[in-house]
């Protein structure tokens, strides 16, 4: 029998991990990792943090050096786009014209930046931040920029803003909702970070949209907001969310709804096709329904799950506690669980001290914990949430003298 072949589509964090985990799990067939970016697989988090700030070089951005792929017998195709999945022929078609026959397909296509839907968005100086190429361009432009407008106060926008301020730029952050990072964090954390960014010198305009980017020739010069104001800008960062790359799956007849739809084992309706990472929409006990998460943890843990599955090591439900971090200047925000939909937020620690956590509950049930410079709480939260029932009440969380660590060791 011919050796089995796995085609991993997308050579980002999740695709890279799937390929390397297949080898760790002892998979002996061919592993082909196909990515459309022209570079080695890399990590995205530094692109809005240390790499953007010029504090680290490319060495620290690559997930592994070039020789790793050879050593692990992973066929890495960079700068190569998969144009179609041929389900009948069990193959993936490449832009370069060839096709790769395969027994399993792992979709790790990630997501792309949503474009700013206003006039002037195409002007030079209006930039996204998703890829290494984006970060390189931003690094170059940031060195010369004086007035920066950040459109969208999500994690990436705020991380970028703190780097831009440190670089000496005047920074305005324009956010259409009233809560920065509001899609994923509690009102308490949102408010705290808003205050900190203001103290660091950023101007934050909430409940404000961008209606037009003005330019001189083809160069952006200012941003016009929904309240009729005009802010000069020589650099406009657009980070208003992403669109999952579902087209390949959809064209192959697979369901897509805010991501490629998979079951609790991360399989699509086709038993030989899985989807992981930023592109996957999956059911989880950590949320009320289905979710699509954008984090290193999610991509990596899902990759390990499907790799173990394909290698025949285990067949199970994907059930890892979600976690995430964001670095903004001297603040490290760490999130365990999914706090969306909580109705009670309990503070532990003192926000004035700059080290505290917000424990988020729905009724009596702990949904997640958001920590600022308080890693011990974060770690404990990850362990608590892994239990079928964390069993921590809001009253216990609020009681500073209540020992969370003791809570974790088996009761009774």
């Amino acid at each position: 029998m011919a050796e089995p072949v796995v085609a991993v589509i997308g050579a980002g964090q999740a695709g890279f991990q799937a390929a390397s985990s297949l080898r760790q799990e002892g998979f002996g067939g061919r592993v082909v990792l196909i990515g459309d970016e022209p570079v080695l697989p890399y990590q995205r988090p530094p692109l809005s943090k240390s790499y953007l700030a010029g504090q680290c070089g490319l060495d620290e951005v690559w997930l592994r050096p070039e020789n790793f792929y050879e050593k692990q017998n992973i066929e890495l195709l960079t700068g190569e786009t998969v144009t179609a999945i041929d389900r009948r022929g069990r193959a993936v078609r490449l832009a370069s014209g060839t096709a790769i026959e395969c027994d399993h397909i792992v979709l790790a296509t990630g997501a792309r930046c949503r474009a700013l839907p206003v006039a002037g968005a195409e002007l030079d100086g209006v930039l996204p931040l998703r890829t290494l190429a984006d970060a390189d361009l931003l690094r170059e432009r940031l060195a010369a920029a004086r007035e920066v407008v950040v459109v969208g106060a999500g994690f990436i926008g705020l991380e970028f803003a703190s780097v831009a301020i440190a670089a000496g730029c005047a920074v305005r952050i324009v956010e259409v909702t009233h809560q920065p990072m509001g899609r994923v964090v509690s009102a308490e954390i949102s408010r705290y970070f808003t205050e900190r960014h203001r103290a660091w010198g950023a101007e934050i305009l909430l409940g404000t949209g961008v209606v037009r980017v003005r330019g001189d020739g083809n160069r952006a010069t200012a941003v016009e907001t929904s309240d009729g104001r005009i802010f000069p800008a020589d650099l406009v960062l657009v980070c208003i969310g992403v669109i999952p790359n579902v087209e390949l799956a959809r064209d192959a007849g697979l369901a897509a709804d805010n991501g490629i739809v998979v079951d609790e084992t991360l399989h699509t309706a086709a038993p030989e096709i899985t989807a992981i990472g930023d592109c996957a929409n999956f059911p989880t006990r950590f949320a009320a329904g289905r979710v699509r998460l954008e984090s290193v943890q999610n991509g990596v843990d899902q990759a390990r799950e499907v790799a173990a599955h394909i290698a025949g090591k285990r067949v199970g439900v994907y059930d890892k506690v979600p976690w995430f971090w964001s670095d903004q200047r001297d603040l490290k925000l760490q999130i365990a669980g999914i706090t969306t939909g909580h109705d009670r937020a309990v503070l532990r620690g003192d926000s004035d001290s700059g080290s505290f956590s917000v424990f988020c509950f729905k009724g009596e049930r702990l949904l997640g914990v958001e920590s600022v410079n308080r890693p011990a709480d974060h770690i404990l939260a990850r362990r608590l949430l892994a239990l079928a029932d964390p069993g921590l009440s809001p009253a216990q969380a609020a009681d500073a003298s209540y020992d969370l660590r003791a809570h974790l060791t088996p009761r009774r």
Binding site: Q17, D59, E60, R64, P65, D327, P375, I379
Partner: protein, 107 residues
């Protein structure tokens, strides 16, 4: 360049020259040493860069921050008194000859 020895669980050793200023984790990753996962890239979020430092070198290691101590509670393999997160061990000239033991598993 300081030389660092990474000892696998089967006893095999990889000896690498790691530049001063680079972390013991990065030294391993850049040389594709199996057994250091480092999924967070040195952000002290994952504890998948766990190593046990040879007793002879423990004193030459930088002090453990509270963050590292907290994170060490999350290692997949048993945490020992000489366990460290290798992303926090920035190589100095005094570390030349350092021996670190890779744990049974990182995840």
């Amino acid at each position: 360049m300081p030389s660092i020895t990474y000892v696998h669980t089967d006893g095999s050793r990889e000896v690498l020259d790691v530049p001063v200023g680079t972390s013991v984790m990065r030294g391993a990753v850049l040389n594709s040493v199996d057994g250091i996962v480092a999924e967070c890239g040195g952000e002290m979020m994952c504890a998948t860069c766990h190593v046990d430092v040879d007793e002879a070198y423990v004193d030459r290691m930088p002090a453990q921050s509270d963050d590292e101590k907290a994170m060490l509670e999350f290692t997949a393999s048993e945490r020992k008194p000489n366990s460290r997160l290798s992303c926090q061990l920035v190589v100095t000239p005094e570390m030349d000859g350092l021996v670190v033991y890779l744990p049974e598993s990182q995840v």
